[in-house]
Amino acid sequence: MEEQLKIDFEKKLKDFSYSDQEKKFKETNFKEFLKNGFPNRKLENWKFSDLNQIIKNNIGELTFYNDYKKENQIDKIELISELEHNKIIIVDGKIEKIDFKFEDKDKIDVLVEQSEETIKENINSLINLNNAFSNKFCKIIIKKNYSLKKPLIIYHSTNKNTQSKNTNSRIDFKLEENACLRLIDIFKDNSEKNFLNIYYNFELDKSSILKNYKIDKAINNNVKYSYNNVKQEANSISETFILSSGSKFFKNEINCDLQGQHSSAFVNGIFDLDDENHHEIKSNINHLVENTKSYQLVKSVLEKKSKAVYQGKIFVSSEAQKTDGYQLSNAILLSENSEFNAKPELEIYADDVKCSHGSSSGSLDENSIFYLMSRGLNYKEAKKLLINGFLLDVIEKITDEEIKNLIKDLLGVKQ
């Protein structure tokens, strides 16, 4: 793989005219990735999901070069019709279309970013890979006091003949004071056996609100990784909802720095897995100042040979008194071969805090099934009803009514 990496990286540097600064940035990141490679289970963070192995088993040899000069066909992508929305379409890691047709153009800036000079934070090797191979990334700025009228949907898609490829995309968002953004990620896979690597940066200024809904519903054979890096100033709110279901492998990582007082972060997730799918949510909530709040709820329903992993960490620095941190994960294992792993972690250095976590996993409650069946439902119906109720708990946490209904439709859950 190393050979392939070097060939592809050289080709990339040759084909695109990068400024010296960009070149340097890409090279440092590339070197860093070469040094560490794809993460494996020796790393604490990847203990339950050995990406190196997963790529080997599901994809085999990866190639890394993507021709960003070439136009991708986007009209074949099936768009969401139930909901009026702004859109960004990404195909093979390249942003093909940015369309804010419902919005006031003065209030939104879209910049094509220069690469940074140095790596600000060395997060992990996948981010290095992303920085080295991604196309120019864009930065979207929502101006002060502006609240988007319609949600923004980002479609992540692949070309029909893209196979065994690694695609990288990165978007930075800045929400200025009192701005509000509803962002939905939807995956439309047109080909198989690719590794999608998505990296988002969010800067939330005072009193801004971010709602990010990630929907991975369509069944596909791709391996995906997504990293959300959220920095929050005073009174800001971030809400992340993850529906993790369709892909072969998907790891969602959320890093949230609560660095302004009275900021809060919510992370909710559903694993609805079947076959041999293996999904993970890893959250890192860092309470860095006083009076911050976080809430996490993750529920899993696991069929056949599927495997779900939830690693949730709450970090409370010694300055962060009056922190309120809560974390709960429940899992229902429906098959003998399914597996649920959890690592709910607390790292606390302040004493005046309220932090707790809970985790449970087990089978469907036979008594409840009996109750429903004694009232005339068959086993299948009873099971479905119970699971619906179980998952509805998380869906009800979604604060946006429109999107809540959309997700309910997608999951086939009724009220």
Partner: protein, 478 residues
């Protein structure tokens, strides 16, 4: 200045050392030292070979570094691996033959052997440095067929038992410190309870680390045969030393069909002074195997001492219907650090485990609960319940919870709960209103917080432990 130093020394009640000339193996870790230890203990050939095999393995192993408390690198070549009081070369036949100075040390510690023998009805196998001083109450136990002696003695007298079970729970190829112990272990306790026997008394060992620079490498092996029961107590105090002393013990428990082992520890080794200087490194490997059906192993620990405590008493629930329990109180104050917890590995059907962990950190200390619950695909109908609560006193200390939960069986249930909080002002106010001073109030509340675990301790220990909880937190209020 000098007065102040003396004053400081007084802080640690047990901070003294007896000046019995020590009989030591040469410094360093190599094959010759291992041969020396084996030779001096008159060990059979197979055991020496076993030790050397462990040493071979040790050469390729690396010290683990994933733990939370970091410590300065230990120079393993700069330690003595064997030291025994010189007057001990010929073992005494009875207590009367003991070195009076040694007996005096125990008096200061509050364990007068003779007294204890009569009053408490506990058989005490006292370990002074690395050699068993005396084993008492042997006769009563022998009558029932119970073997309770030092492991060196067991090697001589019951080689077939030792050979059969040694290293079956903690194999030679385990992690660095366990393997180090396998190569150089000096002494420890050996217990065998024959089938159907309920041990009539609590078996107990008091450890005491003496002689500076000596890492103590204890090895304990407890076997409960079919249908038997034993409760074993371990308690320790160590004299004050400036250099950090390494303690890497291995404890192996084996419970056969229908057997039950209860293992309780009160650990109060020297934690270092107020500035975090000195103190013991307590890197112990404790593991129990519920080998037979319906067997049960229960760990109870009260950890208040040591500069660094790093241990995970574990249960491997192999037999069907076996039960594993873990009750723990860990208290850290000043600059102490602890990374402790348990592993419950469910392999058999209908296995159950319960984990109750209470952590209290004060001063500049750091405390981590790290635990694993692993239910394998074959362990149908298994159950686990985990509760770990932490209490923080002050904002210079840390409390962390790192549970690993793996469920690979759909018929099994795992429930985990954890909370972190501080002592509420209302509670303190309530107690003080009724005439307690702040320190007493905190002591009372903390004791209440730990009650679930303290209840699990045998009577004699419960009292001592309750006092320890209070003493450990002295100076952390206000």
């Amino acid at each position: 200045m000098r007065d102040k130093q003396i004053e400081d020394l007084k802080d640690y009640k047990y901070g003294f050392s007896t000046d019995i000339e020590n009989f030591k193996a040469p410094k360093g870790l190599n094959e010759d030292v291992i041969k020396f230890i084996s030779n001096i203990k008159k060990e059979p050939k197979w055991l020496l070979e076993w030790r050397l095999k462990a040493f071979e393995r040790l050469k390729v192993l690396k010290e683990p570094d994933w733990q939370k408390p970091k410590y300065p690198k230990i120079d393993y070549q700069d330690l003595y691996y064997y030291s025994a009081p010189k007057s001990f070369k010929d073992k005494p036949k009875s207590l009367d033959e003991l070195d009076p100075k040694l007996l005096e040390t125990y008096q200061k510690l509050g364990i007068p052997l003779n007294e204890q023998k009569r009053l408490n009805g506990i058989a005490v196998d006292a370990v002074f440095d690395s050699v068993s001083v005396a084993t008492t109450f042997k006769e009563t136990l022998t009558k029932q067929g119970i073997i309770f002696c030092s492991i060196s003695e067991a090697v001589q007298k019951h080689p077939e038992l030792v050979k059969k079970y040694l290293g079956t729970v903690i194999p030679l190829t385990d992690h660095f410190f366990a393997t180090l112990n396998s190569a150089v272990f000096t002494d420890g306790s050996f217990v065998y309870i024959p089938p159907g026997v309920r041990c009539p008394m609590e078996l107990s060992t008091y450890f005491r680390i003496n002689a500076s620079d000596t890492g103590q490498f204890e090895r304990t092996l407890i076997i409960a045969d079919k249908g038997s029961y034993v409760s074993y107590l371990e308690g320790c105090t160590a004299p004050m030393r400036d250099e950090n002393q390494l303690h890497a013990a291995n404890v192996e428990l084996i419970a056969l069909d229908d057997a039950e082992i209860k293992y309780s520890t009160v650990q109060n080794w020297y934690p270092g002074d107020k500035d975090g200087k000195g103190g013991i490194y307590n890197f112990v490997t404790k593991r129990g195997l519920c080998k037979g059906k319906n067997s049960k192993i229960s760990w109870t620990q009260v950890e208040t001492g040591s500069a660094i405590t790093w241990k995970y008493p574990s249960c491997i629930l192999k037999g069907d219907n076996s039960i594993g329990e873990f009750y723990s109180i860990a208290i850290t104050n000043n600059h102490q650090k602890a990374d402790t917890g348990t592993k419950m590995i469910h392999l058999g059907k209908n296995t159950k485990s319960k984990i109750i962990s209470k952590g209290i950190s004060a001063g500049f200390s750091d405390m981590t609960y790290r635990g694993l619950v692993d239910i394998s695909p074959k362990a149908t109908n298994s159950n686990n319940f985990t509760q770990c609560d932490s209490l923080l006193m002050g904002n210079k200390c840390g409390a962390h919870t790192v549970p690993y939960i793996k469920n690979k069986n759909s018929d099994s249930n795992i429930a985990h709960e954890a909370t972190t909080s501080k002592i509420s002002e209302e509670q303190l106010h309530y107690c003080q209103q009724r005439g307690l001073n702040p320190e007493e109030a905190v002591g009372l509340i903390v004791n209440g917080f730990c009650k679930e675990v303290l209840q699990q301790l045998p009577m004699e220990f419960a009292v001592e432990a309750q006092k320890l909880v209070g003493i450990s937190l002295e100076g952390s209020v206000g």
